[in-house]
């Protein structure tokens, strides 16, 4: 098969789309004014940001005044969690509930708060990568300040029962934050119907540029200011606004949420084709539930091969993907997400994540399925681990 270039790492980042770029371009040179300035060039940008705030809010079922622009998902997570902790600690509420497989922006923030005297409950996940809402309810106690559970997992793409968790939190009067960085544009979100109090999102996962994101904060919740200074972002996050980024985010949000059922209908069969195709290779395993799963996410462990080698070889074939191996995580341990599912270290080291977007085609899927068995054969042929497994007739998955 002729070599193709396939970018299969949309969960890491996405290119800025033409429509988004065109909408942003005037804000670099023509509409360069500071939104806080009094003259027309400033005022028109203030209006543009107001308009963008309303557009982002509409995509989530929120009110414009509930959207705060940030520099991205990690900042939004930090603000929501630390802000709530500071605010509610004054009322003696110093307990936070989260899960073991959150993004590090949430986990490391919670660990930081533990050092500050907060207590944190890390809920387990099922072997399929799903959180049980009953576990959330059981963990809530009198001094629980916040529940923070991700909407969709960034590695294995499992979609959590957010509406159920939201209803439980509401019934117990506990605030509920969700990191929806991977979910926005892939699932229908209505913050009111789902009882979400705070929601983090990031622009560059949905064809807006890097360095822009947002935090939805339900009206009535008062978070401490993130950055003290001027009156931007309703006085909560000072600093002259990233006007082109914000305009780009609004456009990207509109495009990403315009036809979510259409995207799901298009990508789900391709995703399943890839999953089924790779699972034909012996000793492979799908990580994460197949049903409650993002339409563009595939995560499979391939016994006997190591993730980074797999990625480098796939790169030679023009396929850009990701892995949860230790070598790609920058530590000696493989991904905490894969380990949380109960995977053995050696199985987690051989994981492959493919994440794709709307432009993904049947031909791309066929190409990936023609390349992966070759790469796996080659790596297994030189793997002493695979040799031992075959010799001893062991089944690791």
């Amino acid at each position: 098969m002729k070599k193709r270039f396939i970018y299969a790492d949309h969960a890491a980042t996405t290119p800025v789309s033409d429509a988004v770029l065109q909408e942003m371009l005037p804000y670099f040179q023509t509409h360069f004014g500071n939104p806080s300035s009094i003259y027309a060039k400033g005022r028109e940008n203030e209006r543009a940001i107001m308009d963008a705030r309303a557009r982002v809010a509409a995509c989530l079922g929120a009110q414009p005044g509930e959207i705060f622009f940030t520099a991205g998902g990690s900042e939004s997570d930090n603000w929501a969690i630390k802000g709530t902790a500071i605010q509610l600690a004054a009322q003696g509420k110093k307990h936070i509930i989260t899960s073991v497989f959150e993004h590090h922006a949430v986990l490391h923030t919670c660990e930081f708060l533990e050092k500050q005297g907060f207590s944190v409950t890390y809920l387990p996940v099922s072997p399929e990568g799903l959180i049980d809402p009953a576990d959330v309810e059981k963990a809530i106690c009198e001094d629980t300040a916040l529940v923070t559970i991700m909407y969709a997992n960034n590695e294995i793409g499992t979609i959590q029962p957010i509406a159920e968790i939201g209803a439980i939190c509401k019934a117990h009067g506990v605030l509920f934050h969700t990191d929806a960085v991977q979910a926005v544009g892939n699932v229908e979100i209505d913050v009111k119907a789902q009882n979400i109090d705070m929601l983090s999102l990031s622009g560059h996962k949905l064809h807006a540029p890097k360095g822009v994101g947002a935090l939805y904060v339900r009206k009535g919740i008062r978070l401490p200011n993130l950055i003290h200074g001027g009156g931007q972002e309703m006085g909560r996050r000072a600093g002259t606004e990233n006007v082109p980024g914000i305009i780009g985010l609004a456009k990207a949000m509109e495009l990403a949420t315009a036809d979510i059922p259409g995207k799901i209908a298009k990508l789900t069969p391709l995703r399943n084709k890839i999953i089924d195709g790779i699972l034909k290779i012996e000793q492979t395993r799908l990580n994460g539930d197949r049903e409650h799963r993002l339409c563009g996410n595939v995560n499979i462990s391939i016994v006997g091969v190591e993730g980074e080698s797999l990625l480098l070889m796939l790169d030679n074939f023009g396929v850009a993907a990701s892995s949860g191996s230790a070598c790609t995580s920058g530590s000696l341990d493989p991904s905490h997400v894969l380990l949380s599912l109960g995977l053995k270290h050696e199985v987690a080291h051989g994981s492959l994540r493919l994440s794709f977007g709307e432009e993904f085609t049947e031909e791309d899927a066929d190409y990936i399925l023609s390349v992966i068995p070759q790469v796996v054969d080659r790596l297994r042929a030189m793997s002493p681990m695979w040799e031992t497994i075959v010799k001893e007739g062991r089944k690791l998955v």
Partner: protein, 140 residues
């Protein structure tokens, strides 16, 4: 991860991959839990390493360091192989990213483990000659 061209070359076209069925010494270091296993096969004639093959489960750097190390000892004396340091392997590859230095340590140890096995088969205590080959955990 920024690998040098030499690392990428040795990863993409690894030298001396495989097994030697009648090897005179076999060494295996690392473990699956850490994500790196290297297995080294030596054919020795007198004091000369006449052939060497390897198999590696691990990252790009692990494959490249194994490949380079085999090239550096093939046709050389046992003493030369014993004196091969991880630093020399790294330099031959035009360097490794800091988090990958342990891969070069593993390559050095794989050779030492294979030579230990060789001496053991000869009925010679390898420790005074080869030294102690540390367990994987110790190299981290």
């Amino acid at each position: 991860m920024n690998y040098s061209e030499k690392v990428m070359d040795h990863f993409t076209n690894p030298r001396n991959v495989g097994e030697i069925p009648d090897a005179d010494g076999i060494g295996e270091v690392g473990n699956a839990k850490c994500g790196d296993i290297m297995k080294m096969y030596l054919k020795i004639d007198g004091t000369t390493i006449t052939d060497v093959k390897f198999k590696t489960f691990g990252c790009g750097a692990a494959v490249a360091t194994s490949s380079m190390a085999t090239e550096m000892i093939k046709g050389k004396s046992i003493d030369d192989a014993l004196n091969l340091t991880n630093k020399a392997v790294m330099e031959a590859l035009d360097g490794l990213p800091p988090v990958k230095v342990h891969c070069s340590v593993l390559a050095e140890q794989a050779i030492k483990a294979a030579l230990s096995d060789y001496y053991q088969r000869q009925g010679i205590d390898p420790e005074p000659i080869v030294g102690k080959v540390p367990e994987c955990e110790e190299c981290h």
